[in-house]
Symmetry: C2
Subunit: 434 residues, 2 copies
């Protein structure tokens, strides 16, 4: 295992950093004080500029090729190189940045050339997203939402056989910090036969894990379940903003459309499979009576270690809370363990019909709710469709999101004997409809 | 009107050409004998190489800018320039290629530099397709399919208010001539409770009009219905290949996914709005009792001339028919007049929530069936889900598509006093499952 807790970095802010200790080393695309977009690595409160470090002669061989593949200002080419290049770059970064690096004195002396305060940098989308697919593998969410409509039979018959997903809109995916303009659209008022047009009144968040596709496949050539993990480039947080009232009226018979396509927010750092290695776990055994996955979705190694233990958190900050200096209100504390299908199963299913996946494609997991109060990954579930409002310390109540509300997603991986790592935040604030 | 029937071209094969007379001038991306991809124009049996013609000094001003925008080997930059550049290029091409062109002698002498036999060229996708959206505006198809499931109430309540659409898979759109590998997937055999996995047994075509987006919009800024026509870059034919058995099992609750994403075929030539100008017509009056479109979908100019009269044809050619030298069997003869919503209404609806459209996005219209036998745009409708097989002159029957079957889509625009134009073919042949 390349990641061990005792290893510290000579970049002081990395040691004990909640998200970006030396053991994480997530990749992203950033610009420094308005400069060009380039590949970077988060280390504590700093960003390591990979192209500047390349120019300083710090990379050779496969690590060098990995950095050179980012020259276009996105990670697509790097993703396409696959696992080997990613691991080589990680190994070299660990070597450079660890406290006992043999080159430490020299590196510290030249660090101002390629190490910048994150506060002076802007993060961008890490890749050109060719296609975006949103899955629905959070079984607790599927059951919670299903119960609102079908109390006796919340899950549809296909759910435990098919990793359900649908194509999403790629053009409106934005990095954390992008404001969310409240969408307008058609909605059907309760008890009416004709729709009206106006601002969404039931604006919601959805807590999801994002999955970046690394190497793609050729058209017509499925990715076998045993190979699927090799095609995953990394992970992020994803907020699938949802207009529930627009969704309810539009979604039959072809699925969600304008209710989701106004914006999708992601955390901009790509957390690698290598950083998440200590937080892998076996896919939880299916409850008695559940069917086994069909053979094309079943792989012993994936069942033994294809799931992750990642804590997921959602916070709400309102204008009034900001004015009163109140801390953000925790809406959700959930975990990736509530995924009924692994990410490898998603990849194998998506490509089994010959569909071509490409480097830089993004998957969303679907909302990852837990079974208990406090674990629900959307307001639809928390307030039971608006029937049970939330009371906030500011004296406000919320059924759905109001203008000025900010939603903050966070993720944390913890394991005894290992350094904790996080994903960085995925934030978005609601602006009034135009 | 820039298009008048009597105008002939000195390119002899253009005069009376079923698809590409001088009045059409569709744009595309081609390569000549394995060379680089470049912009071209179809004229009769020839392709005019725009970059070679540019080098020969044939373009100035806005026409020159239009051709220069194709330098990257796709039409995205050209689409982004909008209507002005497109019209300037068309005017210049008409001037160059008409029979009485003042430069005719010089042009004929140098034509071998920039005019190639189409038979020596390969056609490619005309643009990088960022996002693909498939609509469902063929009301006769929606009713025919709805009747199979809900005989008394075939249309869902939202249909006459919402231009229904869903996000499709962009990575698997391919130009005419690309073979179609029969997909594998999960299906639920009749009367069974558990799905099986295997090759699709109910493979179908869908006859659609494709719409290319020209200039896009900024995130959060809807395109008003009155401006929508300005954002359309052109038109093509689209075959939305569909695996009906996979679709039936997977599509609840989030819509079609693997049943459509294995391949979508398009005709590679972009037919412009200017070429289609004589074939515009008023949007047919809605039947009595139908609601008026909501104001954001209603524009007097669009109602008066936003629809098109384009004849659409589907042909089937089987291995046995090829062996017996039989002509292709006509499955469908339909028309774009069966669109319940105009293309401008699709654009206005898609962006009304602030969704960003980008140059090179592609829309499908949805299956364009007519109300009568012979006008149905899919085998699902023709054979009533496989219950009424088609008999072919080869002695074969078809419920759905068999391996070796080829589907050919064609379009033709006819109007008294004007030259007819076509779209070129959209072909695809079924290969056995791997």
């Amino acid at each position: 295992m390349t990641q061990l807790s005792p290893v510290r970095s000579w970049v002081a802010s990395a040691n004990g950093h909640a998200d970006f200790p030396l053991q994480n080393l997530p990749l992203g695309i950033f610009s420094h004080q308005g400069g060009t977009r380039r590949g970077g690595v988060a280390i504590g409160e700093q960003i390591l500029d990979l192209s500047a470090a390349l120019q300083a002669g710090l990379f050779d061989g496969a690590a060098r090729a990995a950095v050179e593949a980012m020259a276009g200002g996105d990670l697509n080419g790097f993703f396409e190189l696959g696992r080997g290049a990613r691991v080589a770059l990680r190994e070299r970064l660990l070597e450079l940045l660890r406290e006992d690096s043999p080159q430490r004195a020299q590196l510290e002396a030249q660090q101002s050339q390629w190490l910048f305060p994150a506060a002076d940098c802007q993060l961008h989308l890490p890749a050109r997203i060719n296609d975006y697919t949103d899955f629905y593998v959070g079984i607790e969410h599927a059951q919670n939402v299903g119960k609102l409509f079908r109390p006796d039979n919340p899950l549809l018959p296909n759910y435990k056989y098919v990793p359900i997903g649908y194509h999403g809109r790629a053009s409106t995916i934005r990095p954390s910090g992008t404001d969310v303009r409240r969408p307008k659209g058609q909605t059907l008022p309760a008890g009416q036969a004709e729709p009206t047009f106006g601002p969404c009144a039931r604006l919601d968040y959805e807590l999801e894990l994002g999955i970046w596709i690394g190497q793609g496949n050729a058209l017509g050539e499925p990715i076998a379940i045993g190979d699927a993990a090799e095609h995953i480039g990394g992970f992020c947080l994803l907020n699938d903003w949802s207009a529930r009232d627009i969704q309810a009226w539009e979604y039959q018979p072809l699925g969600p459309f304008l209710s989701k396509s106004f914006l999708t927010s992601i955390s901009p750092w790509v957390v690698t499979a290598e950083a998440l290695e200590p937080f892998r776990r076996a896919q939880p055994a299916r409850p008695q009576g559940d069917p086994q996955p069909l053979p094309y979705l079943l792989d012993a190694r994936d069942q033994a270690g294809g799931a992750f233990d990642i804590e997921l958190e959602v916070l709400l900050l309102t204008d009034a809370m900001r004015e009163q200096n109140l801390p953000a209100h925790r809406l959700t504390l959930s975990n990736t363990q509530y995924m009924y299908w692994t990410v490898a199963q998603m990849v194998a299913h998506h490509s089994v019909n010959g569909c071509q996946l490409q480097a830089g494609d993004l998957f969303g997991s679907g909302t990852l709710s837990g079974p208990q109060n406090g674990q629900f990954g959307s307001l639809l579930e928390i307030t039971e469709g608006g029937k049970k409002p939330i009371e906030l310390a500011s004296g406000e109540v919320r059924r759905f999101l109001e203008d000025g509300d900010e939603i903050i997603l966070r993720a944390r991986c913890r394991r005894e004997g290992f350094a904790s790592i996080g994903f960085g935040e995925c934030r978005g604030k609601i602006l009034p409809a135009r």
